[in-house]
């Protein structure tokens, strides 16, 4: 009986015209650098895949240590390592074999660079692009641009002029202007907002009396950030008309539903892959299906934003 009723519930999501079998997506930055690793996440049950953020040229990122494992999350300062957009074509083509939507994440230092990268992602077959305007640990990129509504709007306009695929914008919580930035993004034509990127943070080793990360500062992710992410999504849902994708500490069906009730149409999972393994996507989905059937819902879309009512 449970199997029957479960089969009658639907987790299908349409996000900016992109059809997904379920609302779980791989977040950018985790297992998204190679075609093979992206395929492995699809095998784990992800409804869509977001690639590692790719720039114009190959980049090594910061020197190790780039990660600190913490009790309730991770602190990282990878520093946007990536093979460069031209080398990424083969990886994206490989990832497309998964037969789930692939979203190409890009980072640049000007509207022109973002537009050029997005165009290349579109050319490779990406179903959408996600603009990284929120990485807190790479000088001249990410968050440094993503806290200024005007800069964000200019980048999105340039990208929208360059591509016909949907444009997602990933924002940082490290600002009091989150809503201003998101509204500017919406006004400039962004098709969806992704929130949140990591929280700027630091770890000092007491024995060594020095910051652990080689970059000193990094971004905090995982369950430690969830309450901040849920709050941001809740605020964004009230302020915007475009869909919001929730990210930050999702690693089981409860945390995924928390974001959906706050107003997210879909959720992204990153740290959860490290903490739970690639099967985290499938596990979240089967838990959500059970919740739907046990509570008399047919469709996951019935729950989006319900916490606002």
């Amino acid at each position: 009986m449970d199997g029957m009723s479960k089969a009658m519930t639907s987790l299908k999501v349409v996000l900016a015209d992109i059809e997904m079998e379920n609302p779980t997506m791989l977040a950018s930055g985790i297992m998204g650098e190679t075609g093979g690793s992206l395929l492995a996440m699809a095998k784990g049950g992800a409804g869509a895949l977001v690639t590692k953020s790719i720039g114009s040229v190959p980049r090594e990122g910061h020197k190790n240590p780039t990660l600190v494992e913490m009790e309730h999350g991770y602190l990282n300062a990878m520093g946007l390592p990536n093979p460069g957009i031209d080398n990424f074509e083969r990886e994206l083509l490989e990832a497309l074999k998964a037969d789930v939507p692939v979203i190409g994440s890009v980072f640049g230092s000007s509207p022109e660079e973002f537009a050029d990268l997005a165009k290349k992602m579109q050319g490779y077959g990406a179903h959408a692009v996600e603009l990284n305007l929120s990485c807190p640990h790479a000088k001249g990129y990410g968050m440094e641009m993503g806290v200024d509504p005007e800069v964000v709007a200019n980048i999105i306009k340039a990208v929208k002029d360059a591509v016909f695929i949907p444009v997602f914008t990933k924002l940082t919580p490290n600002t009091h202007k989150l809503i201003d930035v998101a509204k500017a993004a919406e006004g400039a034509g962004a098709d969806a907002i992704v929130a949140i990127n990591t929280l700027k943070a630091m770890k000092i080793d007491v024995d060594m009396r020095t910051p652990v990360l080689s970059n000193r500062y990094g971004g905090l992710s995982g369950p430690a950030t969830r309450a901040v992410g849920v709050r941001c999504v809740y605020e964004l849902y009230e302020a915007l008309n475009i869909p919001v994708i929730g990210v930050g500490g999702v690693e089981d069906w409860r945390s995924a539903l928390e974001y959906i009730l706050a107003g997210a149409v879909a959720v992204q999972i990153g740290s959860g892959v490290g903490r739970k393994g690639p099967q985290v996507f499938g596990d979240v989905c089967s838990g959500m299906s059970s919740y739907l059937s046990q509570n008399g819902f047919k469709d996951i879309s019935q729950l989006v934003g319900v916490a606002h009512e």
Partner: protein
């Protein structure tokens, strides 16, 4: 494994150092984190780097064995008793040892990963093949002898033992004896040919792979080989897993994630 939320990261003090061979040093330190043969740790040398190393000794006084080949390994091989390093882990899946007759094949510092496995085996009989470029670089021959019924050595230049590489030696040993399992650790080209040999002879095998690694904790994907993370699903892979890999023995990734021919 998947529900491992509590991570052990500790500052440890070098309790002893031993020069094992030319440029190769073992550092021992007291650290009681549970660890299995074939697992690795991340070793942070403040101001220098944070690098993966196999545990060459398990138990409460653990150890790592380091060959001086770069900045981080230079710092480690220069350490003195009383110096401090920060270790986290252990990470990854190690060797799974059945009962029976086992052949262990180590090349270069690969023996560092294999020895704790050999020392934990009680139900099996082990033969060991150790490969080195020359007699000066030969590692752990005496230590392997304590747990092996037979230890044979190969050197590329013929300065000691069998003149040739470890796979050629293993081939000779496998012609004489029927093994139930071959375990290997060393340069990937060596492991690739050892794997081919095991396929040919229809002997199950487990190989410990190495890849450029950033986080060590299953997140960043820098060590992915095909879809598998060397730091999490590996570093030890079974012959069945290796058979499915397109990149094994053929391609690695550089610091930027670019594919590089091996």
């Amino acid at each position: 494994m998947n529900d491992r939320f509590l991570v052990v990261q500790d500052t440890v003090t070098v309790a002893s150092r031993a020069d094992e061979a030319e440029g190769v040093v073992t550092l021992r330190f007291d650290w009681n984190a549970p660890a299995a043969p074939g697992q690795f740790i991340m070793v942070w040398i403040p101001g220098v780097d944070d690098v993966p190393r196999f545990l060459s000794y398990l138990g409460d006084r653990k150890g790592i064995t380091v060959k001086n080949i770069g900045e981080a390994t230079k710092a480690l091989t220069s350490m003195k008793v009383g110096d401090k390093i920060v270790v986290r882990g252990p990470y990854g899946h190690g060797y799974h040892m059945p009962k029976g007759k086992i052949l262990a094949v180590g090349g270069g510092t690969g023996m560092a990963s294999l020895l704790p496995a050999l020392e934990r085996i009680t139900a099996s009989e082990v033969d060991t093949a150790i490969g080195a470029r020359n007699a000066q670089e030969l590692l752990f021959e005496e230590r392997a002898a304590k747990t092996s019924s037979l230890v044979r050595v190969s050197t590329d230049d013929g300065s000691k033992g069998f003149h040739g590489n470890a796979v050629q030696l293993a081939k000779e040993m496998m012609a004489d004896t029927k093994y139930d399992l071959v375990i290997g650790c060393g340069p990937e080209k060596m492991l690739y040919y050892l794997f081919q040999l095991c396929q040919e002879k229809k002997v199950p095998c487990q190989m410990s792979l190495e890849r450029y690694m950033k986080c060590g904790a299953g997140l960043c994907g820098s060590c992915a080989i095909d879809g598998l993370r060397v730091c999490r699903e590996g570093p030890v892979f079974t012959g069945e897993e290796l058979k499915e890999m397109k990149e094994f023995g053929k391609q690695r990734r550089d610091e930027c994630g670019r594919a590089v021919k091996l």
